[in-house]
Every structure is written in structure tokens, then in C-alpha cells.
């Protein structure tokens, strides 16, 4: 399976490289979009210095981690984002006839290299945050950092999976799902605790953003020494299960559109 994925990967990379100019312009656009959010952040902190008890460096670290996870899922799980058109043009029928798992094939059918632009932005902030936020790095904290990125990538991928699964029932993408992907990635630039108790509860129990963003960040910054917080990003992966169940339900009652 991994070898097959590598094969797909190199094919996608080659096809993107056929139109180099267009690829780099689009990537720049992607970078610029992310950059404007960062510039807004910078302007706010020039004026206010802190938000609640988080400094600029700490918020940049928080945003960098989140953005890295989000862009990884945008790059590798983008097949689900165009899944409604896969149903409409009959590509999914073809997928079902092949002897491989259908989720694997949807994932492999599209790798969005343009997201490297946004990922670069995430990586720069990540490095800035890691070096400037005055964190005393221990093995446990580095582990937490890795878990946070992984948790973010998994939860956002699950949201894209759910978005794709809805296409089985509505035949068209649902715009409001964007709130949970793009919306969350933009508003997740601040530690979720600043949005107040109600929002934090929602982001803990309904969609587990806070499990890979807010609580482990507290541990990272030394605001809490609760060891549970290290592993919460892994706990947040439970969110894949309901999304996968919706997808299964969709596959089971899927009828071809006939095109």
C-alpha cells in the first residue's frame, strides 16, 4: 500500500511540475493569504503586547503548530475536498471497482502541492515560536510538540473526511463545513482559552480542537504540569471514528449518479 502511494505521489509531483510557473504563482498566492493573517496578528500585538496572559511569541508558536497540522491535512487529504465532483463525474464508481480500500484511493487521487506555500508560512512561525517563546525544552515537551502537530493533522483530515462523506447524501459540498476547517484554522491562531468558557467547552467535547491546541500548549509553556495534557492530542484522534462511520454509511447506501 505504501509503495503504491509512493507511486501516486511521484505521478502527482511530475504532473504539477509540468506547469512550473503556474504552480509557483499559485503557491505564492497561498503563502500571501496565510501571510496576511500573520500580519494582522503582528499589528494586533504591536498595539496590545499581550492577549490575556499570552505573549506574541507564545501565540506565534500556537499558530505555527496549528497551521503546520492544518496544511499537512490540506495537502494530503484534499481528495475529500473535491469528493463531490468525484461522485458527479463517476470517478468514484471507477474507484469502487478496484481491489483497494476506497478511502486510500480517494486520498491518493489528489495531493495538493500548492499548500506547500502555506506550510512554509507555518514552518517559519513554528521555528520562530520554538526558539523565541522561552520554553524550557525537555524530552517530554518535544514529544508534546510532535503530538500536537499529529493531532491537528488527524483532526482536520477527519473533518475533510466528514465533509466528503456528506457528499453521499447531498451530492454537493456543504459550505458550512468550511467553518470547521478554514474557520477553525484561522481562529485557532489564538489559544482557544481566550474565547471564553463556552467556546472552550465546545472545542473540548464537540469538535476536539482544544485537545491538540489549548491544553497541551499550557503544558508546553509551563502553565500546567498535568501529565495528561501531553497525551490529549492523541485522545483527540477519537474524532476520526464518527466521521468514518458517516463515511461507511454513505458508501453502503451509495448509488451511482450514472454518469
Amino acid at each position: 500500500m505504501l509503495r503504491l502511494y509512493k507511486k501516486y505521489f511521484s505521478i502527482h509531483l511530475k504532473s504539477v511540475m509540468q506547469y512550473k510557473a503556474s504552480f509557483f504563482i499559485t503557491m505564492t498566492g497561498n503563502f500571501l493569504t496565510q501571510f496576511s493573517v500573520f500580519l494582522g496578528l503582528l499589528f494586533m500585538f504591536q498595539r496590545f503586547r499581550r492577549v490575556k496572559d499570552f505573549s506574541f511569541q507564545e501565540v506565534v508558536l500556537c499558530y505555527g503548530i496549528l497551521l503546520l497540522g492544518f496544511q499537512i491535512s490540506q495537502m494530503f487529504a484534499s481528495g475529500f475536498k473535491v469528493f463531490d465532483s468525484m461522485i458527479a463525474n463517476g470517478q468514484f464508481d471507477r474507484i469502487l471497482t478496484r481491489p483497494r480500500n476506497e478511502i486510500f484511493q480517494v486520498l491518493a487521487s489528489r495531493i495538493d502541492f500548492v499548500r506547500l506555500g502555506g506550510m512554509l508560512q507555518g514552518a517559519v512561525m513554528f521555528v520562530y515560536g520554538v526558539t523565541q517563546a522561552q520554553v524550557e525544552w525537555t524530552a517530554l515537551r518535544i514529544l508534546t510538540l510532535c503530538f500536537m502537530v499529529i493531532g491537528g493533522a488527524v483532526v482536520f483530515s477527519a473533518i475533510f473526511l466528514l465533509d466528503g462523506a456528506f457528499a453521499f447524501f447531498t451530492l454537493e459540498g456543504l459550505e458550512f463545513m468550511n467553518v470547521f476547517s478554514y474557520g477553525a484554522s484561522e481562529h485557532g491562531k489564538y489559544p482557544l482559552g481566550i474565547y471564553g468558557k463556552g467556546m472552550l467547552t465546545f472545542c473540548t467535547f464537540a469538535v476536539p480542537y482544544a485537545l491538540f491546541q489549548y491544553y497541551p500548549l499550557l503544558f508546553l509553556l509551563g502553565r500546567s504540569d498535568n501529565l495528561w495534557f501531553v497525551f490529549l492530542p492523541l485522545v483527540s484522534c477519537w474524532f476520526v471514528v464518527p466521521c468514518w462511520l458517516v463515511w461507511r454509511l454513505g458508501v453502503r447506501r451509495y448509488k451511482s449518479t450514472g454518469s
Partner: protein
């Protein structure tokens, strides 16, 4: 003039049809607005003295911004079909017609933005004005301000439409339209005050941004509404809006003339 009015009417009626899509969009925008206001509130609580606007005015700004997204954001009214027709050459059919292609696109763009905004604005305004005091949408301080807001909003609509036409015409000269679109959207979004309102910009950069056409899109009408922009400063801003309408239309038309001179119909 009559033909462009019918283009406008047709497109307006067409865009009004997408009601379910509008409803889904409103849910999005409502969440988005709530999160943005809560973030500003966190900054406000941290240091109220550094807050450059009245908090209530900021909340109103954000609700109107969400309600008017389809009208004032550059991407809100961009028509992907125009780019397609430039790329695949279908534009020749439009050129055969006895109409100015610029005015036709302009009328379509105005109608598109107005209709889509109308569908979204009403639910956002209703819900947002029911919210408790500093977080909701307040009424403008007096009737005169309300009327000035409508005037400035209409001017803003013309500025955005004229800018959209410039973007359309630039793609005649480039191979890929996706890059031009992404860059112009990112740039205009930031400079019109969609990420952070202009009063939050640092001094110096703010004065520069206020002169650009982008500031005439969201910044001016949404601040006139709450009385944040008033007096001689407001008069100057509205005059600047009028200036940019004329300037952008002129730039768009010059670009169009240049582009159409180069159009080669290859037949087939």
C-alpha cells in the same frame, strides 16, 4: 443604457435563486463573526486603553462585514465564468454582440453582488441585533448617519465592481488566472480591513493604506455606520471613494482596449 439595465435585472433575479447556498453561507458567517468579536473582546479586556475604536463600533463593523461579505469582498462577486471565457476563447461570442463588454460585465457584477448580499444581510442583521449590548449590532447613532452609510456603501459597491473589472482585464495578459486571483484577493482583503480593521493598523502604514482604493471598500462604509468615521474626515473619505470609482473605471477601460486589440480569433 437600457440594455445594461436589463443585464442587471436578469442577473439580479438569477442570483436571488440560490437561497439554500445563501443560508449555508449565513451560518458560516455567523460563526466567523462571533469568533472574531470574541477575539477582539479578549484584546479589549487585556488592555482597553489601547483599543482604537469603541468596542461596540468594532462589533457592529464585524457583523456588517459578515452580512455584506458577498458585496464588498473582492472574491464575493468574482464570476469564474468570465475567466473561463477569456481562457477558452468563448469571449468571441460576447464580442459579436452590439454591447460594450465592459459595461455588460460591470452591470452583471453589480447585480451579482447586490443580490447575493441582500440574501445574506437580512438574517445576519436580524440575529446580530438581538445579541446583548456590546456584542451585537447597534443602530446607527442618527438618521443622517444612516443615510450617509447607504451613500458610502453604494460608492463602495462601485469601487469593488470597478476593481473586479480591472482584475478581469488583467487576466487577458496572463496565462493563468488562479495566481492573479489569489494575489488580488489576499492583497485587497488585508488592505480593505477584512482581517483587522484599519484603525488597528500601526501609524504611518495606516495613513498609507487609507489612500488606497481598497480602503474605500469595507473600511469607509462600515466605519461611517457606527459614527467612528465622522466630520471632515468622513467627507474626505467619501470624496476619495468617488475619485477611485472614476480612476478604476478608467484603468479598466484602458486595459480592455489594449487587450481587445490583441485578441486574435483563431477560428475553428
Amino acid at each position: 443604457m437600457k440594455k445594461y439595465l436589463s443585464f442587471f435585472r436578469l442577473r439580479f433575479a438569477m442570483s436571488l435563486q440560490y437561497r439554500v447556498a445563501a443560508l449555508a453561507g449565513v451560518v458560516c458567517q455567523f460563526f466567523w463573526g462571533a469568533m472574531a468579536i470574541l477575539a477582539f473582546h479578549a484584546f479589549y479586556e487585556t488592555d482597553p486603553s489601547a483599543f482604537p475604536m469603541d468596542f461596540q463600533a468594532t462589533a457592529s463593523y464585524i457583523w456588517l462585514q459578515q452580512g455584506l461579505l458577498a458585496m464588498l469582498a473582492v472574491y464575493g462577486g468574482i464570476d469564474a465564468k468570465v475567466f473561463e471565457s477569456i481562457q477558452n476563447g468563448n469571449i468571441v461570442y460576447e464580442l459579436c454582440r452590439p454591447v460594450s463588454i465592459y459595461s455588460m460585465w460591470f452591470a452583471n457584477n453589480l447585480a451579482n453582488r447586490l443580490a447575493r448580499a441582500l440574501l445574506r444581510l437580512i438574517p445576519v442583521v436580524v440575529v446580530a441585533s438581538l445579541l446583548p449590548a456590546p456584542f451585537g449590532l447597534m443602530a446607527p447613532p442618527d438618521i443622517a448617519t444612516g443615510l450617509l452609510f447607504v451613500l458610502s456603501l453604494m460608492l463602495a459597491l462601485w469601487v469593488v465592481a470597478a476593481f473586479t473589472l480591472v482584475v478581469y482585464n488583467v487576466t487577458f495578459f496572463t496565462i493563468s488566472d488562479r495566481g492573479v486571483r489569489l494575489v488580488s484577493v489576499a492583497l485587497s482583503d488585508f488592505l480593505m480591513g477584512a482581517v483587522v480593521p484599519l484603525p488597528f493598523f500601526p501609524d504611518g502604514f495606516r495613513q498609507f493604506a487609507e489612500l488606497l482604493p481598497f480602503s474605500c471598500m469595507e473600511n469607509v462604509p462600515l466605519r461611517v455606520y457606527s459614527g467612528d468615521l465622522a466630520g471632515p474626515e468622513m467627507v474626505r473619505a467619501i470624496l476619495l471613494q468617488i475619485f477611485w470609482v472614476f480612476a478604476l473605471v478608467l484603468i479598466g477601460k484602458v486595459l480592455e482596449r489594449k487587450a481587445l486589440k490583441r485578441v486574435v480569433v483563431q477560428g475553428g
